[in-house]
């Protein structure tokens, strides 16, 4: 069967998506609905002196206008730190911060009315430099100061503030620009009052249950009065972890007693969600004469922007991943997330590990040059392997094939040059990375699923229910594959659930296949036991030879089968009217918080590993880079759906290429300069070559089916590999991404 684990069945939602009938959140309509639009601050930092909503209210077709005064419950929200106003009250802290929301009979009227609202601002000087913002005398964005999170790792002699002598020392400062998710489906949702004081929100989200808690708190309702349902999601990549349309849409729906639809325009989408943290990274690597690392000092500044979002956890990841997949005896790594008046930054694919990867991999290239060896060789000499330990002291207790991944990439042929133009130079670059999967630092993460087995129309049917967010990654199909694998049933229904069903946790942290898969599997195992118990009772005497072999029984082709695969009894006959129904909650193994002083602790559930090779041609006259070839090698533990997996790896790789060469949300004095797809460029089909994907399957013995989280890794080392290739081609330092023509050519 192609539709068990390891097969590549077609997407369950693929036919609907490809024929245009799949409903994304922006496609939803409801009789009697109004449209809502948001007024956003044109200033990065200003005091609000007055808001006059009357001009908007007077416009024909306008039905409601809300400001901060109308929020009935908690006026702030946030998943980790509750510090972000639903609507700005006394102060705006970033360009694009929501100030008021208008509802009208049609979207044009709503947008026009929002622009008619008069807001008197006293413009204040914005804090925009994240490094300067950490100075004690910097103006404070929030009363508690600008350091919103600081994570420190001290290992070896760094615990005493000392470092051993090193024969070779390289230093560098690196900069990463602000990347955006650019999921294609913009933020949108439909809120429908339930007629009983509550509301149901259909929204594109990564975690409906955490949305529910935050919405209910701001509406002043009990959680069970707010039902959040997954609507079709057009991509996520971390950008849908924070709230967007949720609270205003629900509030207006309750005020008017009418359904409310909100759809962000593309420009508004750039303002309406968090971005990847821009970063400044200062590194010092010390090595012995052969290039073996002795110590690493890393100082990482992450610009968190105006509000916290998930910055504390991102700073934790940046610190724990600061030296990459390399063995380093003495480490001092410090990651600081900083408040500024720039746009808020939060979760994006890679979650705090993309920025350090560009830093430590650039350092490895410098070290290779200083020692006089090959860039791959320097990495092989320092590569972590199973049994090795991280700067946190955590020992890698499953495969860590860093050297193998790099070796496989190095063995690939390099394409021949097609141009004899001396102004076009070719370079090959390598980078590798590791990434924690699941939530870290002691968070008790769990996922719940229900599996029912019954006979319908003479045939066994399994139904799996969970609130897992399908954001395009394919978790719907994974659930089906697991049920088919465990129960051997041809007919499997996959049912999505809203917040009235227990949480599956979010589609983030490379955790969904692992965690939801773990929950579905656990429920299936309980169902299996019940089926075997029924079979033992039924078959008992007549098949005595099988009685003691029950542990060797299996389920396949709608039957209970023996160890040889021979059918013992059909499930339809066995079950009859019986319905087996099991709900399971799956937890991953526990993790520890990091010691606040030295950052030591087994903070991560598990790690994945990947490496990239990029081949580029650089035009030395124009400073333009063409990516000629991309290859990724990744240990995926177990490929549940190899076709879907390859799609994830190719897609993540191209996102990383975007950060290397073109993607940057440009912000000057707190003003966003390019909030549109004509100003913010993502790779087109013509910008990237094919992606050569090489899967390694070294099962993680601690994981369901040996799975390793895979979604983020391809987006981490691809950026660094492209930068390394450009470095190899040009001999330039390439210490900033995205790489600009002026970084490669002296135009003066």
């Amino acid at each position: 069967m192609n539709d068990v684990i390891g097969g590549s069945p077609r997407r369950a939602d693929g036919a609907a998506k490809i024929s245009g009938v799949f409903e994304y959140s922006s496609d939803l309509v409801c009789d009697g609905m109004v449209w809502a639009a948001t007024l956003r601050s044109p200033h990065a930092h200003a005091r609000i002196l007055a808001i006059d909503t009357e001009p908007a209210r007077k416009l024909a077709g306008v039905r409601d206008v809300i400001t901060h005064e109308d929020i009935p419950g908690r006026k702030l929200y946030g998943q980790m730190m509750v510090d972000q106003p639903v609507l700005a009250g006394d102060v705006v802290r970033y360009h694009g911060e929501p100030v008021a929301v208008v509802a009208a009979e049609d979207p044009e009227t709503a947008r026009l009315a929002a622009e008619l609202i008069r807001v008197d601002y006293e413009v204040l000087t914005p804090v925009t430099d994240p490094v300067a913002a950490t100075a004690p005398d910097s103006p404070a964005v929030h009363p508690g100061g600008n350091v919103l999170a600081r994570k420190v790792i001290r290992r070896g002699s760094a615990q005493n503030g000392e470092f051993p002598q090193a024969a070779v020392v390289v230093r560098g400062e690196y900069t990463v620009g602000m990347q955006d998710h650019v999921f294609l489906g913009t933020e949108s949702g439909l809120a429908v009052p339930d007629g009983d004081g509550g509301v149901r929100l259909h929204v594109a989200t990564q975690w409906p249950h955490v949305d529910q808690e935050q919405v209910a708190a701001s509406l002043g309702l009990d959680s069970d009065q707010v039902v959040v349902s997954m609507a079709g999601v057009g991509g996520a990549f971390g950008g849908r972890e924070d709230l967007s349309v949720h609270i205003p849409a629900c509030l207006i729906a309750l005020r008017l007693g009418r359904p409310v639809k909100m759809v962000y325009s593309r420009t508004e989408s750039f303002f309406g969600h968090v971005h990847r943290h821009p970063a400044v990274l200062r590194y010092e690597h010390g090595a012995d004469p052969d290039g073996r690392l002795v110590y690493v000092k890393a100082e990482i500044f992450l610009d968190g922007g105006a509000y916290a979002s998930s910055s504390p956890a991102i700073a934790g990841n940046a610190a724990t991943h600061a030296v990459g997949p390399y063995a380093v005896p003495h480490v001092h790594a410090e990651a600081v997330a900083v408040y500024t008046n720039n746009p808020p930054c939060g979760a994006m694919r890679g979650f705090g590990t993309v920025q350090p990867c560009f830093g430590f991999e650039s350092q490895m290239d410098r070290l290779a040059e200083a020692v006089g060896i090959d860039p791959v060789e320097i990495r092989l000499r320092n590569a972590l392997s199973e049994g090795g330990s991280l700067p946190t002291g955590q020992v890698l207790d499953s495969a860590a094939p860093v050297a193998e991944l790099l070796t496989r990439l190095r063995a690939l042929p390099v394409p021949e040059r097609t141009s004899d133009d001396p102004a076009i130079v070719r370079g090959v670059g390598y980078a590798s990375c590791l990434k924690n999967a699941m939530f870290s630092e002691g968070f008790d993460d769990h996922s719940t699923a229900n599996v029912r087995l019954r006979v319908v129309g003479g045939a066994p049917v399994a139904t799996v229910t969970s609130a897992a967010a399908e954001v395009g990654q394919g978790v719907l199909g994974v659930k089906r594959q697991i049920v088919r694998t465990e129960l051997g049933v041809a007919e499997v229904e996959v049912v999505g659930a809203d917040t009235r069903f227990p949480s599956a946790g979010p589609a983030s942290a490379s955790r969904q296949t692992y965690m939801v898969g773990g929950a579905v599997r656990a429920a299936c195992l309980e169902v299996r036991e019940e089926v075997f118990a029924l079979a033992r009772a039924r078959l008992g005497g007549s098949l005595a030879e099988h009685r003691d072999l029950a542990e060797h029984w299996d389920l396949a082709e709608d039957s209970v089968v023996d160890a040889a695969g021979e059918p013992l009894i059909g499930l339809a006959e066995l079950l009859g009217e019986t319905v087996i129904d099991r709900t399971s909650r799956f937890h991953h193994r526990t993790t520890e918080p990091l010691d606040p002083v030295n950052g030591q602790g087994d903070s991560a559930v598990t790690f994945g590993f990947a490496a990239h090779r990029a081949v580029v041609d650089v035009d030395l006259e124009l400073g333009l880079v063409q990516v000629v070839e991309l290859a990724i090698a990744q240990d995926v533990g177990r490929a549940v759906n190899p076709l879907a997996l390859r799609g994830q790896l190719a897609g993540g790789t191209v996102q990383g290429v975007g950060l290397a060469l073109m993607e940057e949300l440009q912000v000057a004095d707190g003003q966003v300069l390019n909030p549109s797809l004509s100003g913010y460029l993502i790779p087109t089909m013509a910008d990237v070559p094919s992606v050569n994907v090489d899967l390694l399957e070294l099962a993680d013995p601690h994981a369901p089916y040996g799975i390793r989280g895979i979604g983020e890794l391809p987006a981490i080392s691809s950026t660094a590999a492209v930068a390394a290739a450009v470095r190899a081609a040009t001999g330039r330092a390439v210490s900033r991404v995205p790489i600009r023509p002026e970084d490669l050519v002296d135009f003066s």
């Binding site: 245009g20 294609l184 991509g235 996520a236 880079v625 799609g647 549109s676 089909m685 013509a686 094919s690």
Partner: protein
């Protein structure tokens, strides 16, 4: 003004169409034809790609009035909705190749691919990449999409004979425009 448009063979009409209203808004919000997607409304992403009298256009850039009394083809008219043999060969190829992830780009991408195969029945990889560069995808990295278009090419080749594009591709000006850093 009042306008009337034939969409996938069925006539729709609308009253009080205003000067700035786009064909995209007309299709989606007035007539509920949400197989046409809205991702940027600036002509940059190709999610709203449709055929207007046989010519590929971004519906967000076409004033609704320009579509009056003309024919629009959307993904919904390409193959029968749902699974199975009703799907167009290009749609089937996308499914088989794993070219659909979140799927938001898929309706526009399929329209552009179908149009490409009418004009170039057996494109090279470079031709596919150059011709479809006006359709953005954020999930797949494009590899599976390119594979899908090329695998569909065989099936489309015969059909394309005698059914060449009725006009030049309106998005053809992006061909070969591959952006560098």
């Amino acid at each position: 003004m009042r306008i009337s448009v034939t969409v996938d063979g069925k006539t729709h009409s609308a009253e009080d169409v205003w000067a700035g209203e786009s064909l995209l808004r007309l299709l989606r919000d007035r007539w509920g034809l949400t197989g046409v997607k809205n991702a940027c409304e600036q002509g940059e992403c190709g999610s709203c790609t449709v055929r207007l009298d046989g010519v590929l256009v971004n519906a967000c850039l076409v004033p609704a009035m320009q579509a009056d009394d003309r024919e629009v083809g959307t993904v919904a008219g390409l193959g029968a909705a749902g699974d199975g043999p009703g799907l167009h060969p290009v749609q089937r190829a996308f499914l088989e190749a794993g070219a659909v992830q979140c799927g938001f780009c898929s309706p526009g991408m399929v329209m552009a691919a179908e149009d490409l195969l009418r004009r170039i029945p057996d494109p090279t990889e470079a031709e596919v990449r150059a011709e479809l560069a006006g359709n953005l995808c954020r999930c797949t990295g494009y590899q599976a999409i390119v594979d899908a278009v090329r695998s569909a090419a065989g099936g489309d080749r015969d059909r394309a004979k005698g059914d060449r594009a009725k006009g030049d591709c309106a998005k053809g000006d992006r061909a070969g425009e591959g952006r560098l850093s």
